[in-house]
Amino acid sequence: MTGRTRAIGMRLAQTVPVIIGVIVISFILTRALPGDPAVYFAGAMADEQSIQQVREALGLDKPLVTQFFLYVGDLAQGDLGRSISTGQPVLTDLAMRLPASLELTLSALVLSCLIAIPLGVLAAVRQGSWVDHLCRLLVTAGVSLPTFFTGIMLVYIFYYLLGWAPSPLGRLDFIYLEPPRVTGFFLIDSLLAGDPETFAAALRQLALPAITLALFTLAPIARMTRAAMLQALSSDYIRTARAAGLSRSKVLFGYGLRNALLPVVTTLGMVFSFVLGANVLVEKVFAWPGIGSYAVEALVASDYAAVQGFVLAMAFLFVTLNLIIDLSYALIDPRIGFDTK
């Protein structure tokens, strides 16, 4: 047990340099603004004097190293600057909109795991059969799909042609009221409020964007499951289990899949990197009010504080997700000590 605690401590310590690096890059990006940030923050009507005031207020007249520590100090207080388009502090904006993005991303991931893992297992068990070929086709086609394009095509088919989906505008049709905010996840909040009708409406809105994202993440998960499962099934312990006369399902799921899941969990880290990026595009297509569409609006309005806040928030989210993956990995796999990695 002490070994495991130490391993977890080690893993936690490893994130420290990464976070420092993320902050440094984010600082560089903030300083690399085109032109003089002071002119920009002072606004269009500013004269020479007010620009100078803003420059002093932002600490832009100080040496870079001092500026860096000021920046870190601001970050520590949760100050990411103020968004020009909404007039709110960036952190408030992001916190407001984060649940929408998380709800979309997580439901997409759950959906794609539910399809990809059984598909990968089947493809590995029936190697060379039609399931295997289907899996390979999906994997190659899946990574070639531009998410924004699949999203648009799904809208055309399911909204325009079939009329099954509601119009692709946001999280909830305007005839419904938002459920009282507890977690910010509409699906959970509406259930907590005991409102099945809003739940169904939120689910209908969520379906298409979640499917779009899930199609995109299907490929890497299915591919990895297939590879890991093939490797697990060809190993000695499976042969032993078979020879010992264990039932087929016990061998497949009790021994094969359980061991194959470990590498799949590790690839989830890479999948997250793609999914958080693809999220931005999908949110734009479906007018989903998450942090991705917030960043796109900010980009169009040249609202740099908002964009940089978004990049930083995404990086922290990604680092945290990777940390959770690695820690849960340590919890599932009894063999692991991080020093072997």
Binding site: I25, T140, P146, M153, Y160, A295, Y304, N322
Partner: protein
């Protein structure tokens, strides 16, 4: 018996024979090379062969479905979608080729130096690469373009930067395992400088896996660049580019004008698909053991 009759006919050039053999064995790889040629043709001669001017607007003829004059229909300004899709090939390929070339060059140098000399250079490089990889890559590209300014050039730099870690890590690993190899030591002993040994004796061994990486990466670079222009970065409106054309078409999809978004999206998808297939084919060519 058959062997004996085969041998005299075998060509001395083994690489070509191998390539032909792989192509014949795997029709999918052949298809991907064919598609690649198709896209190259469009990139080089697209502007010359298209039936209409990709920028010519004609308000009277806006949002017409595909017919014999306008094979892919017309967009909201009456421009010919087919001509725009074909002409856009050059820009899309150019962005991704340049981006991949930059990542290839920078990644190779960094990875080779770190892999050959090791020590603190290696440690520092790894830290930097880890930090880049700590960002969701598309999001980092957005941040870079926002910071450097909204232009095609900066899209190329951003795409190049987020791809550098893949190349640098690959070269580093390939160089590192050959650092003490017999042929490398022999090259040193016969009087080659460190630089010469690294550049002409060790590094070429990393090229085959690098080519596979390039091909797989190209598809991703195209997707990335198109994604950035889809959200309004880089390429500016009348310029034909697949991502921005899909974005324009997105406004008309809910009213049923499917052709404006479908065809540029299809071309984009086909291009990415081509590079991915080619990457798999090249991997078979380079490393038959890793065949999937």
């Amino acid at each position: 018996m058959t062997d004996a009759t085969d041998i005299p006919g075998r060509k001395p050039d083994g690489a070509w024979a191998h390539l032909l053999h792989v192509l014949r064995e795997n029709p999918v790889t052949m298809l991907s090379f064919g598609l690649f040629a198709f896209f190259l043709l469009q990139a080089f001669f697209g502007a010359l062969i298209v039936p209409h001017d990709p920028l010519a607007t004609n308000a009277a003829n806006a949002l017409q479905p595909p017919d014999w004059t306008h094979w892919f229909g017309t967009d909201s300004l009456g421009r010919d979608v087919f001509s725009r899709v074909v002409v856009a090939t050059r820009l899309d390929l150019m962005i991704s080729v340049l981006a991949v070339a930059i990542s290839f060059a920078v990644g190779s140098v960094l990875g080779a130096v770190a892999g050959y000399w090791g020590g603190w250079i290696d440690a520092a490089l790894n830290r930097v690469l880890d930090t880049i990889m700590a960002f969701p890559l598309f999001v980092l590209a957005m941040g870079i373009v926002a910071a450097l300014g909204n232009s095609i050039e900066n899209i190329i730099y951003a795409t190049a930067l987020i791809n550098i870690p893949f190349y640098a890590r690959l070269v580093r690993a390939e160089v590192n395992i050959r650092r003490e190899a017999g042929f490398a030591l022999a090259a040193r002993l016969s009087g080659n400088s460190h630089f010469r040994t690294l550049a002409f004796h060790i590094f070429p061994n990393a090229l085959p896996p690098m080519m596979v990486q390039v091909s797989l990466n190209m598809g991703w670079a195209i997707l990335n660049a198109a994604g950035l222009s889809f959200i309004g970065l880089g390429v500016r409106p009348p310029t034909p580019e697949w991502g921005i054309m899909v974005a324009e078409g997105a406004n008309y999809i809910i009213s049923g004008h499917w052709w404006v978004a479908l065809f540029p999206g299809l071309w984009l998808m086909l291009a990415v698909f081509t590079f991915n297939l080619m990457g798999d084919g090249l991997r078979d060519l380079v490393d038959p053991r890793r065949r999937t």
